[in-house]
Subunit: 262 residues, 2 copies
C-alpha cells in the first residue's frame, strides 16, 4: 500500500482525457495534474525542446513526492527514452497503445495519427516492433481545432480537415487506428464517420489501465477508499480552466487550477 | 548616423511580414530577427505570461546592442505598457496601426481583429482614443491555419472560419479594418473577399514606416548604403525555417536561423 499521489501531466488540456480514464480505473487514488498551458502546444516543436519541457514537467511533479507519473501526452511520451531512468514508474502512452493495437488488429494493418513531432519520432512504429504493417499521418490542425471547440459532427471545418488527413488511412486499409494524441478521443465520432468499422485505440485509456495493473502488481495502491482528490496546476493563467477542463473530462470540473512558473 | 543594428521580434514567424516591410522602408539597415518559436503562439496566453515572454525577447535582442526594437507581434505589442521604459526606442504595432486607421476611415467605423489576448487587452481601442466607433473580434484559429499553409482562396476551411469571424464585422459596417496580428496580412485576399471595399490596415507596415521616420528624425539612420543584412534567431529547432520564412517574407529566404535558449 502506498498513499502518495499519482502525478499526471500534459502540454495543456488534452491530458485530461487520460486523467478521466485514470480516475475511472483508479477511483480511490489522489492525483496531481499539471498542464503546461504556458508553453502548449508541444506537437509542432523539435524533439530537443520537447525533451527539455518534459524533463521540467516531470521534475515539477516529483516535487510533490508522487509515487508514479502518467505522461498523458502523446508528444511528450515520444521523448521519454531520452530522459534516462527514474526511481518511480514514469509511464507514457506509446507502449500501452501499441500493445492494445496489436491485440485489436485482425488484418495486421495499424494506422497511427498524432502531432507532427510524434509522427516524425517514429515512436509508435518502434513500439509496434514490426509485428504489423503501419501507416502514419500527422494531423497538426487537430489540436487547435479541438481547443477551439471544433470537434463536433456537422462542422464543415473539422470534417474537411479530418477527411484530408484520414483519406490516405482509408486507402491503406487499416482495421485499427491509434489516436496518438490525448486530444483526439474528442474526435472519435468524426473519425469513426470517415473510417467506419476501424477500431480506435485511445492511448490515455490504455496507459491508465496499465498503470492500474502496475500499481496492483507492485503493491503501490492506496489504502484509502472513497473518491480520490485531484489537484490541478497550470503554467498560465487558470482563467477559463473549469470550462475547458469540463469539455476534456466529459463532466463538470468545479475545482480551479493553481498557476505555477516552470 | 548610427550603424548599430535594428532588433525585430515576434512570437514566431508572423513578424516576418513586419520585417519584410522594414526592409522595404529601410533597405540599408542591418537587422537581427528573433522568433520565439519554442513558445509560439502567444495569442492564447494570459497578459502576465505574454509580458514575461516579451520582456525576455527584448532582453535577448538588447544583448546585440541594437539601436531600436520593432515589436513585430500584435499580441506582444499589447503588453509593452507594462514593461516600463527603455533607453532605446521600442516600437509596437498598436499606435501606428490606430493612427493609420483613423486617417483612413471615412464613416468613423473601424473594425479590429486579432488574437484572443490582443482583443481582450483593449489596446487598439485605447490607441484609437474614442475618435471612432469600434468593433473587435478575436480570430484564434487564424494563426494555426496560416502556419499550416491554409491562407489561400478556394480553401473551404479558411474561408468558412474567416466568414464566421468576419460576419459580425460586416454587420457593423466598418470601412476600415485593423489586421491586428502580423500573420493576418497573408489572409488579405480572403478578408477582402468577405469585406469588399474595406481598407485593410497592416500594422507591421505602419510600424515599419513609423520606425523609418523616427530614425530619420533622431539621426539614427545607418551611414552605409547597399543592402542591409538580416541575421535570424529562433528558440526552437531551425529546421524548416527557410521554407516557412519564405512564405512570410514573400521572397526566397536562403539564410538559416540560429537556435538559442531563452
Amino acid at each position: 500500500m502506498d498513499d502518495r499521489r499519482i502525478g499526471v501531466f500534459d502540454s495543456g488540456f488534452g491530458g485530461l482525457t487520460g486523467l478521466r480514464e485514470l480516475v475511472r480505473v483508479l477511483p480511490h487514488e489522489d492525483v496531481v495534474y499539471f498542464g503546461d498551458t504556458g508553453r502548449v502546444p508541444y506537437g509542432g516543436r523539435s524533439a530537443d525542446t520537447i525533451a527539455r519541457y518534459t524533463a521540467e514537467d516531470i521534475r515539477f511533479l516529483r516535487g510533490f513526492g508522487v509515487k508514479a507519473i502518467l505522461v498523458a501526452c502523446g508528444t511528450a511520451s515520444t521523448v521519454l527514452g531520452r530522459l534516462g531512468s527514474f526511481d518511480i514508474p514514469v509511464l507514457g502512452v506509446i507502449e500501452p497503445a501499441a500493445e492494445a493495437a496489436l491485440a485489436a488488429t485482425k488484418n495486421g494493418r495499424v494506422g497511427i495519427i498524432g502531432t507532427a513531432a510524434s509522427i516524425r519520432s517514429g515512436a509508435y512504429e518502434r513500439a509496434l516492433g514490426g509485428k504489423c504493417e503501419t501507416f502514419a499521418a500527422a494531423c497538426p490542425l487537430f489540436v487547435p481545432l479541438v481547443e477551439n471547440g471544433r470537434f463536433r459532427r456537422g462542422d464543415v471545418v473539422i470534417e474537411t480537415v479530418a477527411r484530408e488527413y484520414l483519406e490516405p488511412m482509408h486507402d491503406f486499409g487499416c482495421d485499427t487506428l491509434i489516436l496518438g494524441c490525448t486530444h483526439y478521443p474528442l474526435l472519435g465520432e468524426i473519425i469513426a464517420d470517415i473510417l467506419p468499422g476501424v477500431t480506435l485505440i485511445d492511448p490515455g485509456a490504455e496507459a491508465a489501465d496499465r498503470l492500474g495493473r502496475l500499481l496492483a502488481s507492485e503493491g503501490l495502491e492506496t489504502s484509502r477508499d472513497g473518491d480520490g482528490s485531484v489537484e490541478y496546476y497550470v503554467s498560465d493563467d487558470p482563467e477559463g480552466f473549469s470550462r475547458l477542463a469540463s469539455i476534456f473530462m466529459g463532466r463538470e470540473v468545479r475545482e480551479n487550477a493553481t498557476k505555477v512558473e516552470i
